[in-house]
């Protein structure tokens, strides 16, 4: 996994509540057996004017000029500003894969769906929860100022605006540690192999029917 330490990134505002994972990456792209290459199909149905299918040359497709991701001023954005319940719906990890592949590293919203939130941390993406009024303020500043960037520092757990205003955010120690180090979580867990085995023996003795 790609480590995340600090980022100074251009911000793209996506002003919709309840953005679901079907919108983030439509189902036809879930047929891939790979983990990469989903970026060009991020928000496919909003981003293009035609119907997207796997295998198309996305560079030749008609872009929807009204969709925020296509505005020239947001080209290369690494911070996505979003509304309530971002990432609701299915558990498809293709959603954070698509966001990461497109170049996003941070998503800021008043709330996230649980599974999506969790999936982000496995892919070097940092989802940050901020109070609705802070998110409102960031939307206003971002829309009013072309080239609006935010500075995100994971170790310090802060977001800093261009005029120096600092907002703190929460993250669990475990997630912070894994993201800062870009650690392989399976490798970390396997350090507890003896504990897992001990638990398993006890569990098997108590509920043998669980072990066919």
């Amino acid at each position: 996994m790609k480590a995340f330490t600090t980022l100074n990134g251009l911000v793209c505002p996506l002003d919709r509540a309840n953005v679901d994972t079907d919108a983030i990456i439509p189902k036809q792209f879930l047929k891939s057996i790979k983990r990469s290459g989903f970026g060009p199909n991020l928000f496919d149905e909003w981003r293009y004017l035609d119907h997207g299918e796997p295998g198309m040359d996305n560079s030749q497709r008609p872009l929807n000029p009204d969709f925020v991701l296509n505005f020239p001023r947001y080209a290369g954005a690494q911070v996505l500003l979003a509304r309530e319940n971002f990432g609701c719906g299915s558990s498809r990890e293709h959603a954070p894969w698509a966001l990461e592949d497109q170049g996003f590293r941070v998503i800021i919203a008043p709330s996230f769906a649980d599974i999506f939130f969790n999936n982000c941390f496995k892919n070097g993406l940092l989802p940050i929860v901020q109070p609705a009024e802070v998110v409102d303020q960031l939307f206003r500043e971002c829309e009013a100022n072309e080239g609006y960037r935010l500075n995100v520092d994971l170790a310090a757990q802060t977001i800093t605006t261009p005029c120096g205003k600092v907002f703190a955010f929460d993250v669990t120690e475990h997630r912070k540690h894994c993201l800062l180090g870009g650690l392989d979580e399976i490798g970390l867990t396997l350090k507890h192999e003896a504990e897992i085995k001990a638990f398993e023996s006890k569990h098997r003795a108590a509920q043998p029917w669980l072990f066919a």
């Binding site: 299915s90 954070p96 599974i115 399976i186």
Partner: protein, 468 residues
Amino acid sequence: MTAQTLYDKLWSSHVVHEEADGTVLLYIDRHLVHEVTSPQAFEGLKLANRPLWRVDSVVSTADHNTPTDHWDEGIKDPISRQQVETLDANIKAFGALAYFPFKDKGQGIVHVMGPEQGATLPGMTVVCGDSHTSTHGAFGALAHGIGTSEVEHVMATQTLVAKKSKNMLVRVDGKLPVGITGKDVALAIIGKIGTAGGTGYAIEFGGEAIRELSMEGRMSLCNMAIEAGARSGLVAVDQKTIDYVKGRPFAPKAEQWDAAVAYWNTLHTDEGAHFDAVVVLDAAEIQPQVTWGTSPEMVTDINGRVPDPAQEADPVKKGSIERALAYMGLQANTPINEIPVDIVFIGSCTNSRIEDLREAAAVAKGRSKAANVKQVLVVPGSGLVKAQAEQEGLDKVFVAAGFEWREPGCSMCLAMNADRLQPGERCASTSNRNFEGRQGQGGRTHLVSPAMAAAAAVAGHFVDIRTL
């Protein structure tokens, strides 16, 4: 000992290791695997040269990509076929307790197959790379959806890195009126608490109305816990749970049965246990539900109307309603029962079990598809459900009414196979999500119960099943 909720009991009995910040390694008993969210996980295992920690925890089937007709022609879409064949190859290489491949008689939607095989048992932790894994909570099992990285993590370590959720009780008091199903209860709850109302919680569904629900009804309800934002939904174990499990292929055998039942009978919330949030609904007030928008919380009852965004003060909500009405092609204040439908879909992990098909068939019997309805798809949840329905003659009822009787799979719930809406088509669907494009780009979905879907098929528009 302090009084515990059902969720507390299931959680604490599976904690392997706990860190100072409350992050735990949670032991996983059952891992359900399907073709869409597993290939990258198996690939990860191969690259790191890791085996499955416990082969006998894995139960697998192909469901999302499989066609629902012309099985003799195989899977025509080459990338869908590749994904299904990749699962075949991975199961062959890594092993599983059971695998129900494409065309096997046990094949079906993973959340229908698990319970009917007895692969879902009370007291288990159950995961699957699919958000509707919450379904299995109907058995008093702690069940939730996970991402593909977590699928790989469970395969390699038999554990999940997890943080405990808060406890929410949703109590539905009193008796449900005739014709009101688990689906209507689920939609009424989502209408009340919203699609983020359960975020951060495990929801236990309780109260007289829930106890009265069949196991199928409880599965429909827990299935949609995720639509209320909760990763897991739960119903306490009772005699109905135990009767359902008994005799299924992977249920405990004779010598272990009594011990299992004795343990399962402890799987309920203790008197006086603390819930962080409690929501109460009156069963008598729940009417047949119909969604009008592009989020499951955009729901009303059959006698309601499409809302008017002009009446909404919150600008974000107002914008959401306006966008939803534009996408759905609906005018504010239109009575729900005047909305015509083009397509009807009866199926999905929410509503494709035998009881769902019986309810739909009861409405279809002796009636015919309305002339304005282009197609009615009835897609059983599994090969076993299909066989049972045919034994009961339900297939003949559907066909006589002009409905299409298909092979099992996820089908038009998410339209990964060939079953999908065309742009602008309006569908009465027994599935779980009415998101933009969910059933096909530009398709318009209205979520309803199986009986309400069948009623819309014969009436040509939404209609109160109690007036048929």
